[in-house]
Symmetry: C2
Subunit: 336 residues, 2 copies
C-alpha cells in the first residue's frame, strides 16, 4: 500500500440526458481497516457497462437502489492486501462490485469472488464475467441460432456484441452481420472477428443495407441499442425469428418520452419472439459457460478485446466513452 488514502467517485447527481463528469464527485477517505473475519481489497481495474447509467437513476429493478453520495457502482478486479480471513489471504486475486474507489473492506460474502489462477483481471471482468455470459446466454440460449441461420448484431463492436456475433458463427450461423459506429470498428468485425459483413450506421443507410444483406429476413437479431435500428430489424424478420433484447444504449441518455418500436407488430406477421433477460438470474450457470467459452478462447475461435484506459481520474470518462461510442471491445480503467 503506497497510497495513504482511498480515492472515490461518488454519485453527485442523477444524470439528465447524457451522463457527464459533473454527475460524479471526487472524494478521499482514509483506507478502511479490516475487522475480524474481514480483509482489505486493493482495487486495480474497474469495468464499466452501459447498464450502470440506468442504475444511477434507479431505472432497473434488478439492482439495489443507488443514492446520491454513494460510491459509484462498478465491477472491479484487485488483490487482497490485508486479511483477517483465512479464505481470502493476502495476495489473493479477487473480483466483485468494488465501485469507483481504490480500497474496500469485505467479509467475503456478497458480490465478491476469487479470480482463478491463470485468469487475468481483464478476462475476469469481461469474458469470464457478466459481460461475457450476457453475450453467451443471450446468443446461445435466447437467440439460439441453428446451423445456417442468419444473425444481425447491433452494438457489434462493443463488449457484448463482439462476443455475441462470434458465438453465433461458432454455433453455425451462415451469416453474421454487425452494426457499429466507425469504419475502424467495422473492419475489426469482418477482418479480425469473422463477421460476414458490417454496417457503419453513421455513414450507411442501415435500412437499405439490412434489407440487402438479409433478403429473406434474419433469424436472430441481438439488440444492444434499441431505437431506429431495432425498428429496422423488426421490419426484416424471417419467420420464427428471435429478437434478443440485451440493451438499449441509444435510449439510456434520452430525456423525455422515448419512442417504442413502431414495427413491433411484425412479431405477429413473422411469428417471432422478443425476449429480455438479466444475466444475474443465471449465476448458477456461470461455471458451465466459463468452460465453454474458455475452450473456444483456447482454440482461438473466440477473441476478445479490451479497451483499457489508465488513471483513476478517468473513471467517469470511461463510463461516458460507452455512450459516445469511443470504446472498441470491453471498456476497462486501470486505476492502480
Amino acid at each position: 500500500m503506497t497510497d495513504a488514502k482511498n480515492r472515490q467517485f461518488l454519485i453527485a447527481a442523477r444524470p439528465k440526458g447524457m451522463v457527464k463528469e459533473s454527475d460524479f464527485r471526487y472524494a478521499e477517505t482514509a483506507v478502511p481497516e479490516p475487522g475480524e473475519g474481514e480483509f482489505l481489497v486493493h482495487n486495480e481495474i474497474v469495468a464499466v457497462e452501459p447498464a450502470l447509467r440506468g442504475q444511477m437513476e434507479n431505472r432497473a429493478n434488478y439492482a439495489a437502489p443507488l443514492q446520491i453520495g454513494d460510491v459509484m457502482r462498478a465491477l472491479g478486479a484487485g488483490t487482497v492486501v490485508k486479511s483477517n480471513n483465512p479464505d481470502f489471504p493476502v495476495g489473493q486475486k479477487v473480483q466483485g462490485l468494488f465501485g469507483f474507489q481504490d480500497y474496500l473492506v469485505s467479509d467475503g460474502k456478497g458480490m465478491i469472488g476469487r479470480i482463478p489462477d491463470g485468469v487475468s483481471g481483464e478476462a475476469a471482468l469481461y469474458v469470464f464475467g457478466g459481460t461475457g455470459y450476457t453475450a453467451y446466454y443471450g446468443m446461445a440460449e435466447v437467440g439460439h441460432p441453428k446451423a445456417g441461420d442468419t444473425v444481425l448484431v447491433s452494438g457489434a463492436a462493443g463488449a457484448v456484441g463482439s462476443l455475441a456475433g462470434q458465438i453465433a458463427k461458432i454455433l453455425g450461423a451462415a451469416k453474421v452481420v454487425g452494426i457499429a459506429g466507425s469504419d475502424e470498428k467495422c473492419r475489426w468485425l469482418t477482418d479480425e472477428l469473422g463477421f460476414d459483413a458490417a454496417i457503419n450506421y453513421k455513414t450507411e443507410d442501415v435500412a437499405a443495407r439490412v434489407k440487402e444483406l438479409f433478403p429473406k429476413g434474419m433469424d436472430v437479431y441481438y439488440d444492444n441499442v434499441g431505437g431506429e435500428i431495432l425498428d429496422i430489424a423488426l421490419a426484416n424478420l424471417a419467420q420464427g425469428a428471435r429478437v434478443v433484447l440485451c440493451g438499449g444504449i441509444s435510449r439510456y441518455n434520452k430525456e423525455g418520452p422515448i419512442e417504442g418500436p413502431k414495427n413491433y407488430f411484425n412479431l405477429v406477421y413473422a411469428r417471432a419472439t422478443m425476449t429480455g433477460f438479466i444475466i444475474v438470474d443465471h449465476v448458477h450457470r456461470y461455471r458451465e459457460w466459463s468452460q465453454i467459452m474458455g475452450k473456444w478462447i483456447a482454440e482461438g475461435k473466440l477473441k476478445y478485446r479490451v479497451d483499457m484506459i489508465e488513471g483513476f481520474e478517468n473513471l467517469p470518462k470511461g463510463l461516458i466513452r460507452l455512450f459516445t461510442g469511443e470504446n472498441i471491445g470491453k471498456q476497462l480503467i486501470r486505476i492502480a
Copy 2:
C-alpha cells in the same frame, strides 16, 4: 335455390383510416355452375374478424394478396346445393373462405372443409375454427398460465379475448382480468364468464386499475388491442411474464405513423417475452384442440357468445362493428 343471382361485395378501395361501407361495392352475378368434380356451395353465415382489415391493404404476409375488385374475403358456413363431387354431396354442411357472396363453386381442395355432424355453423365459424384456436393456442401454449398465475386480457369481450380469459381460468390462473369497452361487456365477463375483474377502458383509468389489480405485475398479458393498453401492460409485468401478441385492433384503422410500445424495454427488466403467432401455421393441431375445447364446452366450463346480425346488405357493417366495438363475442352475419 330461390335466388337466381349471386350477390357479392367486392373490394372497392383500400381502406384509409376507419374501414367504411364505401370501401365495398355491391355486385350481382349469375350463380355459377359446378363443373366436373365440382360442387356449388350456398353460403349462409359469414364470419368477420379484425385481421380482414389488414388483408384489405395487404399488410399481412401470411394471406394471399387481395386486389381491388376481388370478392371480399371472409370465412363462411353453408350447404352444398348442387354437386358433381361424391365427397361433397348435396346437403353436406361446409365451411371455408367463401367470401362476401351467396354462392361459390369448389372442387373440395383448398380452404374448405366439412362441418362435422352435431356442430352448428356458428360453432364451426367460431370456437371450432381459427378464432377459437387462436384463443386456445395463444393462451394455453404461448401465454401458458401456470396454476396461480395472474392474467390480463384486452379486447376481452371480443371473440378471441372472451375465450382466452376463460381458458386461463380453466388452466388454473388465480386471477383473470379483462379490459373491455362498456359496462355491459364488463358485467358479461365477470357475471357470466367467470373473469375475476373487468376494466371499462372508456370510463376507467386503465393504468391505475391495472396497477391496483396486479400489485406484483401480471404473469400473462394477452394482447388483442396494442396501443396504450399494451404499454400499460408492459409497465406492469411480473418477472418472467409472457406477452401474447394476438392482435392490435387499436392500430388497424390508424393512418400515418403508428407509435410503438414505449415501455418495450420492460421486457428486459421483467425477463419477459413478447411473442406473435398466426394460427394457420398450426392447422395440423386443430383436431386436438377441438377435442379439448369441445370437452370444456360440454362440461359447461367454456362459454361462447355469438353476436349475429341479419342480412346480406349488412356484411360491411358487420366488419365495421368490430372496430366500433359494437359486437359482444363473435360477430357473424346471417345472409341466407
